[in-house]
Symmetry: C2
């Protein structure tokens, strides 16, 4: 086990009806609220109206930053920072999924930073404080509701980068599973792939002796596998939605990585992919992950064998680690197919043309991967095998 620091101060309000607490929870931090949301689906579902009413009841003045897109842009962040400064915003409230939350995080930190918020991503600046931040989660996927990460795309350069900083923990997050009842099948699936991929990144590693971390990760993966069919069969199954939602949060709230060194190469390759091509993050992960797994399998066969045995319950039957590990990867690919995720780049309309340029850029951004530090050639091979 590695030494670690674990700290997570986000307050989680989980369950049916917790949405109605949004007004007074915001009011604890201030009166002037910037409501951040996406393309307007919350207006269709009635959530927008419900949040507005609760904020008004609590005596909040409401300002809006709407139109946050998937693969959210720094230009939208800058728009939000301008509103915060101009209107003396006291609380930022994200109502949405990972894109909206990440935008709100950087808006909240950018408003308290003397410079351009893109600096956080290039390393030119570091967030030191932020405006208070609340979340009403509408999509189980990224875990952003309870972590210190944010991913933003620069619309000028096409770069999609991550910043990680304890300042970025939301102060509170409302996780009301009923708010995910209306998520379309496709996005439910991408969200599930995303959370599964988060566990993969922290489970396939080279840190010795991490038995508890392994069990916790395996528990999350098995639960996701067991409950995905329930959610897809019946999108308004409360307990299934609740279970998937809590899985998504625990998959990336720093708990299962405490004591291990995660890999994260696949995420880095995917961020480049969806930064350039604007495909859903979950789609890119489903395509790339099985390829990465096969590529590094010979380096940690015992870990893939454990995955096959414990998560997929594939019996050993005299197989060696490599054979068993291979079967675990094949089963993972099959499962992605079963739940409706794409498995090749061509399926999402991506061809050969820009792969080399992308591999070059990913490699340039410094060491990528832990199980294997990937060179440009490695990355290009994985991209090509994903065609």
């Amino acid at each position: 086990m590695q030494n670690f620091e674990y700290w997570n101060p986000t307050r989680i309000l989980f369950g049916r009806g917790t949405t109605d607490r949004v007004g007074w929870e915001c009011r604890k931090y201030g009166e002037r609220v910037l409501l951040v949301y996406g393309g307007g689906s919350i207006k269709v579902t009635g959530l927008y109206e419900r949040v507005i009413v609760r904020l008004q009841e609590a005596g909040c003045s409401i300002f809006e930053l709407s139109g946050v897109q998937p693969n959210p842009r720094i230009s939208k962040v800058r728009e939000g920072v301008d509103i915060c400064r101009r209107e003396d915003i006291e609380v930022v409230l994200a109502v949405g999924g990972g894109s909206v939350i990440d935008t709100a995080k950087i808006v909240a930190a950018g408003a308290r930073y003397d410079g351009d918020a893109w600096d956080f991503f290039t390393g030119k600046g570091v967030p030191k404080e932020k405006l208070p931040l609340g979340v009403v989660l509408t999509l189980a996927a990224t875990g952003s509701e309870m972590n210190r990460n944010a991913v933003i795309t620069n619309d000028e350069t096409g770069e999609k980068l991550v910043v990680k900083n304890p300042v970025l923990f939301p102060d509170f997050s409302i996780l009301d599973p009923e708010n995910t009842f209306t998520v379309p099948r496709e996005h439910t699936v991408y969200g599930i792939v995303d959370m599964m991929a988060h566990v993969f990144e922290q489970y396939f590693h080279k840190t010795p002796e991490t038995p508890l971390q392994d069990r916790l990760s395996e528990g999350i993966m098995k639960t996701i596998i067991e409950y995905t069919p329930k959610v897809l069969a019946n999108p308004t199954d409360y307990d299934a939605r609740a279970t998937i939602m809590w899985c998504g949060t625990l998959a990336l709230n720093h708990l299962i990585e405490a004591g291990v060194v995660g890999d994260w190469a696949t995420h880095r390759m995917e961020l480049e992919l969806s930064g350039v091509y604007d495909i859903p993050h979950g789609a890119g992960l489903a395509i790339l992950f099985p390829q990465w797994m096969e590529y590094v399998l010979p380096l940690i066969p015992q870990r893939f064998a454990q995955f096959a045995e414990r998560v997929w319950e594939i019996p050993r039957n005299g197989r060696n680690d490599l054979e068993l590990g291979k079967m675990g990867i094949a089963r993972t690919r099959e499962w992605f197919r079963e739940i409706g995720a794409p498995l090749t780049l061509r399926e999402v309309g991506i061809g050969e043309d820009r792969l080399e340029e992308m591999a070059e850029r990913v490699a340039q951004r410094g060491p990528i991967g832990v199980v294997k530090v990937l060179t440009k050639e490695d990355i290009l091979t994985i991209y090509r095998r994903s065609l």
Copy 2:
């Protein structure tokens, strides 16, 4: 799944060498430190000296509250509160196990309370704030290092009571597994029984549809079962001590109870037992738990069957839930015996005489248990079967 709120702001510094950070971690909060510890074993191991040196290096003034006993007393708490007031203490630092940490929690809260700290336990008063509190953990057991609970005994009345309040979260806890290398076998075992019992309390419940919580609890239990022999065989096995330590923390840091309603009847019966007889908490739990399990088995047979199958890997082989559950309980008792825990009250020198009086008192303190709300008769039966 039940609605829940989850919040845990304690910072964990985990790993080899983290002990040396104690000085500057305290100094962040203040300069005048009250060092709380037990019977002096930390002087024998050299930990006392190491902590003192680090505190001095960081420029702290050190005051001491020593001699905290197992089943810690309110009289010792009052002594600590007096020192805090008299010496303008700015930080309380617990160096020890659960008894020391619980004492330090109530000292830190009592110092900021206008009245007697026992009020927190009788409900006469509520802790509203506390002095900053740090921990250097020396025994993996209670989870107090990362939770909001404290258990204190009133030496005048023999009452052993719990208080739970978010104010009581430590601000930081140093978990250095090397500090547990010297824990004697007997106390290592009691600590392990305690953490296992914490998982039991939160696993054997009646809340429907808690698949993720189940998997997390099962993961902790399986890890404890797998690593206990390693720790007992080689007390200086770093990874084994580290694993058991992190199990103890996660067993009672509010994570696995998020979404369920735990039972806690056995803990209530045990607190009465060790309050009256001053036996180790872990010993009392090993004696009472299998009896409670058998008593409530018919009410939740499917949960005990799941426990038998998933935790003890007992194959179903056509058995019904009741039969399988029974085997899981028998295996638990056998395991307690294997690791060296007592199984009967007589083994720890307790006879029939005060059982009725104790059952009476436990029952009087209001509803006890969730799987079955236990009457005085139920409690007495469980006590008697434990003879």
